[in-house]
């Protein structure tokens, strides 16, 4: 399929550009891009859910589970390389979603949003009161090597950056393939009319459950990468405002392209660091205003501007 090849080309070009930029970028910019891509992974999962017609106000649950699983694995299993830690985080979040999905997959609209919010707040309440996991302070996480390269070495110090970029690339590509597969195409069908999907002989519950697990895995991966990049995790990752921020980026970027969540996340982080410096008390005001504008005037997200222009040219 040509569009898929186009996506592959675009994503590969983006990955090469991101990696080539690494030695030139100042340290703060490296950090900013890494965090953005990690959060973009969570939003990528939300994109899949939104295509299925679901908005989760509790993705922070899987984000935090990914981070805490990676942190705990580093402490308890003495894993010292970043890649296995990220895989542990991803698997833990996906596993929890597989279990919670048994229940969550039956819910729609605001009931889905509320139940996912309740689950994430339960985890928040647990983490805050668990001294073994550092209670409200959280704890430090560090990987000594990335793919065997020492993080203090000349190449290894770009390790977290490179690993995050590679994860984002693989995830975006994989999700793009998934969305074009038979199973992936069922997602918008479920959103549009569940009954017809059932009549066609597909199981709506299974589609939703699978998409929940995939979205959670992506959120867990993002959480683990965030933990390794920041070097610290705390219960705020599971708080509902964290989940709200992911929803914001998802709305901003729309569901049109697998690249949009990353672009949206980078845009948000740039805006944030800019706003923190110049207008710390009006930051949320700007974010809220932008969100309202997008919801009311650009229901398909910012990416639709880009698509519309492309469509007009063709």
């Amino acid at each position: 399929m040509t569009p898929s090849r186009q996506t592959l080309g675009g994503l590969a070009a983006a990955l090469v550009a991101t990696l080539a930029l690494a030695p030139i970028l100042p340290k703060w910019a490296l950090f900013l891009v890494t965090i953005s891509l990690a959060k973009g992974l969570v939003v990528l999962g939300l994109l899949l859910l939104m295509r299925t017609g679901l908005v989760s106000f509790g993705q922070g649950l899987y984000y935090a589970i990914g981070a805490y699983a990676a942190g705990t694995a580093a402490d308890v299993l003495k894993l010292r390389d970043a890649l296995p830690l990220v895989l542990v985080g991803t698997a833990a979040a996906a596993g929890v979603a597989a279990l919670l999905g048994l229940l969550l997959a039956r819910y729609r609209t605001i009931f889905f949003a509320m139940l996912s919010l309740a689950f994430s707040m339960i985890l928040y309440g647990l983490l805050v009161r668990t001294p073994a996991l550092g209670s409200t302070d959280g704890f430090n996480v560090a990987a000594r090597t990335v793919l065997g390269l020492d993080v203090a070495g000349p190449v290894g110090r770009f390790g977290a950056y490179g690993l995050t970029a590679a994860c984002a690339f693989v995830a975006a590509l994989g999700l793009d393939r998934f969305l074009r597969s038979r199973l992936g195409r069922l997602a918008p069908a479920v959103r549009d009319n569940e009954l017809r999907v059932e009549y066609m002989g597909a199981s709506v519950r299974n589609v939703v459950h699978l998409n929940l697990v995939v979205a959670a895995g992506l959120a867990g991966m993002g959480g683990a990468l965030t933990a390794l990049t920041v070097g610290h995790i705390d219960p705020e990752m599971a708080y509902w405002t964290t989940s709200g921020e992911f929803v914001f980026v998802a709305i901003l970027s729309g569901t049109g392209s697998v690249a949009a969540p990353f672009a949206g996340a980078v845009l948000l982080e740039l805006l944030r660091s800019f706003a923190y410096e110049h207008a710390p008390n009006t930051w949320q005001l700007v974010v809220g205003g932008a969100m309202l504008a997008v919801i009311l005037f650009l229901p398909e997200g910012l990416w639709s501007l880009f698509l519309r222009r492309k469509g007009a040219r063709a």
Partner: protein
């Protein structure tokens, strides 16, 4: 025995506070089908206005008893000024959109209001504890409670009675019930649905602000104080059933008692016990305890 009494009394006090806030939230949802994420910000706004008014009143050397009237005035002020501005200026452009989209609109509104509060009042905290201490205390066995807490319970009961009478006992309330039942048919029968929405949102805002105003004397009023209230109020209305007023009362009682039991018996689980209760109710009765299941529409 005294632990049991303490759990009950603390639970009822907490439930009263929750009910005042949740009643506004559930009312807005029942009539307008909007799950208002900005409700906590309106609560915070009520607290700030109350703190400012009472502060100015006391600094002016006026009799401190007047501050109770000012608490209520603050709530009404926020309700009739901010409520219509939000409803007419923003929400009416989003009517008819998906319920989830409306949640997102109010979430954006929440972000905006959080900073608007900071811009007006700054980031420092405000204290107005006079109304809290003024009334003295009540002895209940060997436990001592501030009389102010009893006032809170009375206010909550009054709010409940007023809402019950307002909805079932007046012409306006019956029109409101018609709108809740079927918006389109009500409109064809000549009911001004737009005005109903305006009144509902104003009333809901007033209730949120009242919750905040009554809380202002008991805490320090700081930025972000509404953030946790939102999810607590959600828990209450979800447990009782979205849009149900008796549900909000029962939900508030359940959350209040669950929390106070946790605080007295097992403090480690305080925070998550409330959300666990919410998740359990959602798991077994997704539409809450007081709302019948809705037939699936094709």
């Amino acid at each position: 025995m005294s632990t049991l009494v303490a759990i009950l009394v603390d639970g009822i006090i907490y439930a009263s506070w929750l009910f005042i806030i949740a009643a506004g939230l559930t009312m807005i949802y029942g009539v307008m089908r909007i799950l208002n994420m900005a409700h906590g910000s309106l609560y915070a706004l009520g607290a700030y206005v109350a703190a400012s008014l009472v502060g100015a009143w006391l600094r002016g050397g006026h009799p401190p008893l007047g501050s109770y009237a000012l608490l209520v005035l603050a709530a009404v002020l926020v309700g009739v000024v901010v409520g219509p501005v939000i409803e007419r200026g923003l929400l009416r452009f989003a009517y008819g959109r998906d319920e989830v989209v409306l949640v997102l609109v109010t979430y954006a509104l929440f972000l905006i209001l959080e900073d608007a509060v900071k811009l007006v009042w700054g980031v420092e905290s405000y204290f107005v504890s006079e109304p809290y201490g003024l009334l003295g205390t009540i002895e209940l066995g060997d436990l001592t409670y501030p009389t102010y807490s009893a006032v809170l319970v009375v206010v909550a009961v009054l709010v409940g009675i007023a809402l019950r009478f307002g909805i079932y006992g007046t012409r306006y309330g019956k029109l409101l019930l018609a709108v809740i039942h079927d918006r389109e048919v009500s409109a064809t029968l000549g009911i001004d649905v737009g005005r109903m929405y305006l009144v509902t949102f104003t009333l809901g805002t007033t209730l949120a602000a009242l919750g905040g105003a009554l809380t202002a004397p008991t805490v320090s009023v700081v930025p972000g104080m509404g953030v946790e209230v939102i999810v607590l109020a959600f828990a209450v209305v979800v447990i009782g059933g979205l849009g149900s007023m008796p549900g909000a009362a029962l939900g508030a009682l359940i959350v209040g008692l669950v929390r106070s039991s946790a605080v007295h018996l097992l403090p480690q689980v305080e925070l998550f016990s409330i959300y666990l209760a919410m998740a359990l109710v959602l798991a077994f009765r997704p539409r809450g305890l007081f709302v019948a299941a809705e037939a699936r529409k094709i």
